[in-house]
């Protein structure tokens, strides 16, 4: 393995090599998106329980002020993304599917939109539980896409010791370059965030994994880090899904998270570089999460780039601003094209977990007829988990969902989509697996 990883770079077995498609955005500095006239802030834009609103209709709010509080530990508060007036709390369409209660804020025209609310803390004097609580108060959730509350991720259950914090700077999804720009432009914030997270976890070392297509980011991080220090930067091979938690742990640490377990079971916690940058910026100042960097790219966009977008900005406003050309692009994805979801409406807001907006052309002219499996084995060669998508697909076709779970490790599939990506027969394998998993869950209820 030693020689092999020397030749190929650190990586996990199998996987796929989709085109990077990052040329249009990765070299442009992050720009600020103007404030939309009306913001939609869903009470639930994270994993866990929805936040509880603290504001009422017609109330004036200042940018950065808490507008909803966390409902217990498994929740995070929300902060006003703009200075303005609360228009109401209504059910609104969101990217998560069903309509969600959201706080609507009319932006005050002509306001400077400076941050008006902060609770600075002396981080040195906080113990670990206090640090975790402080992180919860800034409303931080994972910026990579899953929107898992960061304070939950950093508080490990009793009995588990974390030795290594893995920081995910892979950004293996095509088109996306937000993390790349963050590593270049907010290098110090990333490192500051890593130090805070290490303290919260009690971890003695951190490893930042960056794909080898971002040598400038690797150099920028290394220039700020002591070679012998506790934080290391490791180059990993550009391959999808290098940025998935379990694959990155395998690539960097040569450890595997046992099936059905979490990384903390083997002493590891993984966080995204974007999350670390937010943590390093916001926590020392005691400010809430009110904006994030979003890559906007794809053939349907005339001004692609990375934008600093206020949380709650309606997608329609964002698309108009970046020169969305209209009807030819009917395939709008939140997140990256490999794992992101298409939106049902242009009224959905950008939430804390949205790392990218990718507009693809309509693939209607392509022949996407589903053919029988020709057993070419490409899916088996692609599956990063080591499953047999071909057999699983055949079982799904005859609805033997229990067998898929009991004997074919269906629940280890994390839906990266490699199998569907390579299948020459156009079998929607990962979609079959999603259906199988949800039907199995239904059956258990």
């Amino acid at each position: 393995m030693g020689l092999l990883s020397f030749l190929t770079g650190l990586t996990f077995p199998r996987g796929v090599h989709p085109p990077g498609l990052k040329e249009d955005t990765r070299d442009k500095p992050i720009r600020r998106l103007p404030f939309a006239p009306r913001m939609v802030v869903p009470l639930q834009q994270h994993f866990g329980r929805p936040a509880r609103p603290l504001v009422v209709k017609h109330q004036e709010v200042l940018r950065g002020q808490p507008i909803a509080e966390a409902d217990g530990f498994e929740s995070v508060p929300l902060h006003a993304p703009v200075t303005g007036v609360v228009e109401g709390i209504e059910l609104m369409a969101t990217s998560r599917g069903p309509k969600t209660e959201s706080i609507l804020i009319r932006t005050a025209p002509g306001d400077s939109q400076a941050i008006h609310w902060a609770r600075p803390r002396d981080l040195e004097r906080l113990n670990r539980p206090q640090l975790i609580q402080a992180i919860q108060e800034i409303g931080l959730v994972g910026q990579g896409g899953a929107a898992f509350p960061t304070h939950m991720k950093l508080s490990v259950p009793d009995g588990y010791d974390i030795d290594t914090l893995v920081v995910n700077g892979c950004e293996c999804e095509p088109y996306l370059s937000a993390d790349h720009r963050i590593m270049l432009e907010q290098t110090d914030a990333v490192i500051a965030g890593i130090r805070i997270a290490m303290k919260a976890l009690g971890a003695t070392r951190a490893v930042i994994g960056v794909e080898d297509d971002k040598p400038d980011a690797i150099a920028a991080l290394q220039a700020r880090l002591d070679k012998e220090g506790p934080i290391a930067v490791d180059k990993v091979r550009s391959k999808y899904p290098q940025g998935s938690e379990k694959m990155l742990i395998k690539a960097l640490l040569k450890r595997e998270v046992p099936s059905g377990h979490f990384p903390y079971h083997i002493g590891v916690v993984v966080n995204n570089v974007g999350t670390m940058a937010q943590l390093g910026t916001l926590l020392p100042r005691g400010e809430g999460l009110v904006e994030r960097v979003v890559t906007v790219a794809g053939p349907g966009i005339t001004r692609p780039g990375n934008y600093r977008v206020p949380i709650g900005t309606p997608l329609r406003y964002l698309l108009q601003h970046v020169g969305f050309t209209g009807n030819d692009a009917s395939h709008i994805i939140l997140g990256g094209p490999m794992m992101g979801n298409t939106v049902s409406s242009l009224d959905v807001p950008i939430t804390k977990g949205v790392s990218g907006v990718v507009v693809l052309p309509d693939p209607e002219d392509e022949d996407i007829r589903i053919q029988p499996c020709i057993r070419c084995g490409r899916c088996v060669e692609a599956c990063p988990v080591g499953l047999n998508p071909s057999d699983l697909g055949k079982l799904a076709a005859v609805r033997r969902y229990e067998v898929m779970e009991e004997r074919y490790h269906l629940n280890d599939c994390f839906e990266c989509g490699c199998c569907s990506y390579v299948c020459p027969s156009n079998i929607p394998l990962v979609q079959y697996f999603r259906i199988a998993k949800s039907l199995n869950r239904e059956r258990l209820k």
Binding site: P19, H331, I333, V343, Q371, I374, C376, Y421
Partner: protein, 340 residues
Amino acid sequence: MTPLKIELKTSPHLKQAGSVEQIMRHVTYALLPICAFSVYHFGISALALIITTVVTCVLTEHLFAKLSGKRSSVSDFSAVITGLLLALTLPPSFPLWMAALSGFIGIALAKVMFGGMGYNLFNPALVGRAFAQAAFPVSVSTWTVPGHPDRFTEFLPSTLAMPFTTPAPVDAWTTATPLAQWKFEGVHVETWSLFTGMTPGSVGETSAILILLCGLYLIARGMMNWRIPAAVLGSAFVTASVFYWMDPTFYPTPWFVLLSGGLMLGAMFMASDMIASPITRSGIWIYGILIGFLAVIIRFFGGLPEGIMYAILLGNAMAPLIERITQPRPYGTRKRRDAA
């Protein structure tokens, strides 16, 4: 703003280029140079044979699709490949009516009855060939002199034999293949002529270099798993080397084993049939090694001079079992899973 059409789709939203039709089309392209050489080598009889089997295979598939009320799968080119491969494994003088019947049996018995494209346990072309071997033992082992001066103007006497008649071999045209010469007469044909293909043999099996190049084209395009031909040829070479080392006066050189008969064609284009071979990486190696070993053993100890056809069919039969014991180890589990 004009109303937008918004489509809801599920991830992944990108797709690697390549479809079933594309793979099958490229396999067809890769076989065409071999067909062209065989026509040059054996003349219009070989051409007639190729056309006959391709047409029969395509028509059989179409007919069964119509009978069962399904969308005709002829456009996926897989029946064309079966037809081409079947012709390439038959002797040039093989009567056309027998070839047509073999093609029909191959598609009907080995493909349609198992559920069509993607479900066949055995390579349909080889099942057709095995049928020919069993039903027409004389015609299937009558070999033609290559490069006959009249080959472009005259059909071989047996080619146009009336249906349900077996033609008698005509001495002026017939000869023995290098493999048969070794097996039954102890004569060793020079290795170089085996490499270039200027020898008697089945329509498309004679030129090892051409088959190798056509196979490499498919491997380079990512449309064939290189491990299968590598395992078959490697294992045949090693097995033959062991016997050659034990008795160099009796056994042929490993190079002769590699380049003679249908081994190269079988390893490159028939053992590598995706549908009838295992899908797992270690399974592919076991499958290939097994085929190479069996092919040499049948050649050396069996009644027939050539063993690759039965070796591959046995490999096909073993494939599901091999696959079952070679499932990949899922991430985060200790043991290989015990598949159904």
